[in-house]
Amino acid sequence: MKPLLLLLALLAAMLAPTGARAQARGPDAGEVQENGQEVLGRRAREQREAEQEANMDEATRALRLQELEAWLRRLPGRYRIKGQVQMFGKSGSVDGIADCSGIGDGPGVDCIINASWPFLELGHNPMNIRPSPAEYLNTMRPSMLVFGLSLDPPRVISQMVMGDSVVLDWSGKLEQDTLNQKADHRCTSRCIYTFNVTAAAQSKLVTFEMSIPGGGITFRMERDPNARAEKPLRALQAK
C-alpha cells in the first residue's frame, strides 16, 4: 500500500508543472459555464466586446455608424421635461425644458437643458459624499450637452458641462432604441455613472436616465415646439 501511495505522489509531482501551465492557458476567471451557456463577468464581457470591435470588418463598422447617425438625427427638437430625482430614498419631481439642435447637416447634436428640482433634505449623508448630493440642485440651470460620433470603435460620445462648469462625459453603444453610455470621467464624489438615452423613431418621447451616487435622475422629455421656460434665461452682458 505504502509503495502505491509513493508512486501516486511521484506521478503527481511529475504532472504538477504541466497542470499549472494548462491552468494558466485556460479560460478567464470571469468565465463560468452554466446551463450550457457561457456566462461572463463584466470585465471579461467588456474585454470580449473590445476585441470584437477591434476585429470588426469594414462593412459592419459602416453599418454601425449608419445606425448611430440615424439614431442621433432623432434627437433635435424642443422638449418639455418632466421627471424625477431620487437620492438615498428621498425623491423630488423635475421640471424644465430642453432645446436640441443638429450641428449643420451632420448627425452631431447640441442641447441646452434647463431643469430644476426641489431641494432634497437628505438628513445624514450615508455615503459621506462631499459635496452633498444637494449640490446637484441648480447645476442644470442651464447645462449644455453635446452628442457626436467616434469612428473607431463606432460609438456615440457625449459631454455635458453643468451650470457650475464641471465637465461630465460618457461614451456608449446603441441597443435597439437606447443609447447605453458609461462615464468616461473619474467618478469620485460628483458623478453621473451611466447616462442612457432612449429615442424611438417617430416617437414624441425621449427619455434620459442618469445614475448618480445613491440614486438616479430620470427625464421624460416630450416634444413640444411651443415649450417655453416659465422663467426664461436672461442673457446678461458681462463687462
Partner: protein, 266 residues
C-alpha cells in the same frame, strides 16, 4: 522490512529524479526562449543605480484652481476668425490655405462654461485622385465647441494616489473641451494650463483612424482682444497637418453669459 526500506529508497530516488527532470525541462524551455547569441559588448548594460522616493501629489493652490476659470471667461465673446491651414505642415507657401470665418462663444453658469459656434472655412483641397486629405476640406462650417472646468481633485483617490487608468488626466486643474464638427465627429481633450494664458492638450484623433494624435494649444490673451488656436495632427509620429486659427474679438460686441443672477441696480 528490508525489502520495504529498499522500495522506499527507490521511490525517493525516483521522486528526486522526477523533480530534477522537471527542473531540467524548465531550464531547457528558458534556454530555448533566450536569444541564441550573447549581446554585443557595446549593447551590454553597465551598472545602473536608480534612486527614488515616494512622493504624494501636491494639492493645487488657490491660484492654480483659479487659472482655468479666468481662462474660460476670456473665451466668451464674438470673434472674427483668420489664420491658415498648412496642409503638410512643412511651412511651404503652396500648402497654406487662408482661413476665414466667425466664432460666437457664449458663457453659461457661474464659472462660466463656454459654448462656441464656429463657422470656419478655407479653400478645399483634395489629392490627385480627388481623394480627401487630412485638413483638405473644412469640417468646421459649422461646428460646436464646448468648454468646461476639469478638476484635478477628481483624478485623485481619497488617499491622494492617482488611479492607474488616469495617467492621461491632468495633474493640475484644467479645461476639458469637446469639438463636434459638421460631420458629427467628436474630438475631445483634457487640457492643462501651461501658463495663465495658455492651455495645452494632447488627445487621440477621432476623425482619423490609426496612429494619430491631436496636439493643441489655445492662447487667450489677458487683454481679451485675441484667442489663438494651434492644432497639429501628428500621424505616425510625424506632423501631418497644422491649423492656426486667430480669433479677433469683434469690436463693441457683447459677451453673453446665460444663467447668472442679474445684479440689482443701485
Amino acid at each position: 522490512m528490508k525489502n520495504g526500506a529498499r522500495r522506499d529508497g527507490l521511490a525517493i530516488c525516483l521522486m528526486a529524479l522526477a523533480s530534477l527532470a522537471s527542473a531540467a525541462t524548465r531550464a531547457g524551455e528558458a534556454a530555448a526562449a533566450a536569444p541564441a547569441k550573447p549581446p554585443e559588448p557595446d549593447q551590454q548594460l553597465g551598472e545602473v543605480l536608480v534612486e527614488g522616493s515616494r512622493s504624494k501629489p501636491k494639492r493645487p493652490t488657490f491660484e492654480e484652481y483659479q487659472q482655468p476659470f479666468n481662462f474660460l471667461a476670456r473665451l466668451v465673446g464674438q470673434f472674427y476668425v483668420g489664420g491658415s491651414v498648412d496642409l503638410h505642415a512643412l511651412g511651404r507657401s503652396e500648402d497654406l490655405r487662408k482661413v476665414s470665418g466667425r466664432a460666437d462663444c457664449v458663457g453659461f453658469g457661474v464659472a462660466p462654461g463656454v459654448q462656441c459656434e464656429l463657422r470656419i472655412r478655407w479653400p478645399g483641397t483634395t489629392d490627385r485622385n480627388d481623394e480627401e486629405i487630412p485638413g483638405g476640406l473644412s469640417t468646421l462650417d459649422p461646428a460646436v465647441m464646448l468648454f468646461g472646468f476639469e478638476s484635478a481633485d477628481a483624478t485623485l483617490r481619497p488617499n491622494g494616489l492617482r488611479r492607474p487608468s488616469d495617467k492621461d488626466e491632468p495633474r493640475q486643474p484644467g479645461v476639458s473641451y469637446i469639438l463636434i464638427d459638421s460631420k458629427g465627429i467628436a474630438e475631445k481633450a483634457v487640457g492643462e494650463m501651461a501658463s495663465p494664458d495658455i492651455l495645452q492638450s494632447r488627445s487621440k484623433c477621432t476623425a482619423i483612424r490609426g496612429n494619430c494624435e491631436r496636439v493643441a494649444q489655445i492662447t487667450a490673451q489677458p487683454d481679451l482682444k485675441t484667442v489663438d488656436i494651434n492644432i497639429d495632427l501628428v500621424i505616425d509620429g510625424r506632423k501631418a497637418v497644422s491649423f492656426f486659427f486667430e480669433l479677433d474679438r469683434v469690436p463693441g460686441s457683447a459677451s453673453v453669459v446665460f444663467g447668472r443672477k442679474e445684479k440689482k441696480a443701485r
